[in-house]
Amino acid sequence: MVLSPAAIQALQVATVLFGAPLVQGVIARVEARLQGRRGPRVLQPYYDIAKLFSKETLWPDHATWVFLAAPVVAFCCYLIFPLLIPVLTTYGLPLGYIADIFGSGFVLALAAFAVALAAAESGAPYAQLGSSRAMTFAALGEPIFLFVVFAVALITATDLPYVEAATVRASVAQIVRPAHLLAAAAFFLLMLSDTGRIPVETHSGTLEFGMIDEARTLEHSGPLFALLKWGSAMKQLLLYTVFINVLVAPWGLASTGAPGDVVWAIVSLLGKAILLGCAVAVIDDSFAKLRLFKVAGFMAAGFLLAVLAVLVLFLGAG
């Protein structure tokens, strides 16, 4: 029996949709253990989302339909993104080529834009503060993303994530080349900032003055808030997937449509994502959060790595 490409594609979305809260739960648990706490259950994010879906939705007096539509738009973007990247297979699926890395970046940017717009729409000071900060730092992260894409384009002569993954799998020489390592490191820094992690942000903090991503959703409630929370868990898993399956460890993917291969691909993806999450949790626990004004310096470091990756390629080597 062989699964059809369409079925696998649907499975990609389902894996991200239902796996994301699990990955988040495991990371939260590991993080708590590192801090000497017992921590919540691994399945806690699922319970949180289920609870929020049964609550009523409240919204600020002057908010319009934008406030209500934004979480749905963002959630849809996170459902589209797994169609475009290699989540489970080594070969391109039917809809896999409708957008390249730039296109996938735009989809994520649209989601962030929708959430920021809703935060601005709420009229609440903290939400607006969060949205303005998030947009400021996203603008600083943009050049890093661009240069990582340039590096990938110079390495593979395309900008398709599937081709980059295949290139990395091809030989050891492709892995140890400095351009690849620098681009991967730059993407890792970008990922830390985009998933609201130290040293840019404390994702579990309750102090509004230090918040960036978390503050944007303060005014949402009920099912819409559940969508936002679920969406941010999915965003985290999606960025991890790009990092793992495109740049760092594209092994364990299914090369045929055999059900056994696909199941193994799902298990290995979640396993790798959890391992990466543990590494991120260790970083989270070993560094202090940067002062807000120092975040630009952090972004400059990421930019440096990405630019060096491109420069080394232009030297004719790397």
Binding site: I155, A157, L182, G297, L305, V312, L315, A317
Partner: protein, 224 residues
């Protein structure tokens, strides 16, 4: 259509990564405020330079290169950082360096300078026998970054570290273009470095005795 960039061999790739770490260590020195942390970074940087020498030694199988790797590790990873640490111990009260401009500006200027170094070497038709040509470009970038570090910092210990890391850049460039350079010449460079340590040490102490600071700013004023 754009052609894919050629893949370096595993050895060349590794050598380039080693050289790249040296360059990144120089950039890290820009970001590091504490003088002790800078000394530590210098030790790490020197370790990678010695590693590069060792890699060259292993492929070429020359005993002279082994000796060079060991001696440079002993001098630059152990001896010089230890001396610097002792010097910093005596100068109490000044833990952090002084910057002439902000870290982010320094890094952005540093990227431009590194790019200049890369393209300048790329324009030269240098043939290299053992290590990849990119390592030479990275070595030159390290030299330029170290210049920038010495300009960006106004305190003597940071400038000393900048000078020492400049020597590390020269070592990389030397390894690439003249792997077979006589050992004696390379050792002379290392002793040159020791002289520089003594000179910077004396400067640091005199400055500290005279003005109770290690900032070189005080030297800019004319006294009649």
């Amino acid at each position: 259509m754009l052609a894919a960039a050629p893949v370096p061999s595993v050895f060349n790739g590794t050598a380039e990564v080693l050289a790249m770490v040296v360059l990144l260590a120089t950039f890290a020195m820009f970001r590091t405020q504490l003088l002790r942390a800078q000394v530590k970074l210098y030790a790490v940087q020197s370790l990678f330079v010695s590693g590069l020498a060792l890699a060259a030694a292993v492929t070429r199988g020359e005993s002279e290169l082994y000796v060079l790797a060991v001696v440079s590790a002993a001098v630059k990873v152990v001896a010089i950082p230890a001396v610097m640490r002792r010097l910093l111990d005596r100068i109490d009260g000044s833990l952090a360096g002084h910057e002439a401009f902000s870290v982010t500006t320094a890094v952005l200027v540093g990227i431009a300078v590194a790019a200049f170094g890369f393209f300048a070497v790329g324009a030269l038709e240098v043939r290299t026998a053992l290590l990849p040509r990119a390592a030479l470009a990275i070595g030159v970038a390290v030299i330029l970054e170290s210049f920038l570090l010495m300009i960006a910092r106004t305190d003597v210990p940071s400038q000393a570290i900048g000078f020492f890391s400049l020597e590390n850049g020269v070592s990389i460039a030397g390894l690439v273009v003249a792997t077979g350079m006589p050992l004696l010449l390379e050792l002379l460079f290392l002793f040159d470095l020791l002289v520089a340590v003594v000179a910077f040490g004396v400067m640091m102490r005199t400055l500290h005795l005279r003005s109770a600071t290690v900032s070189a700013r005080g030297l800019e004023r004319l006294r009649g």
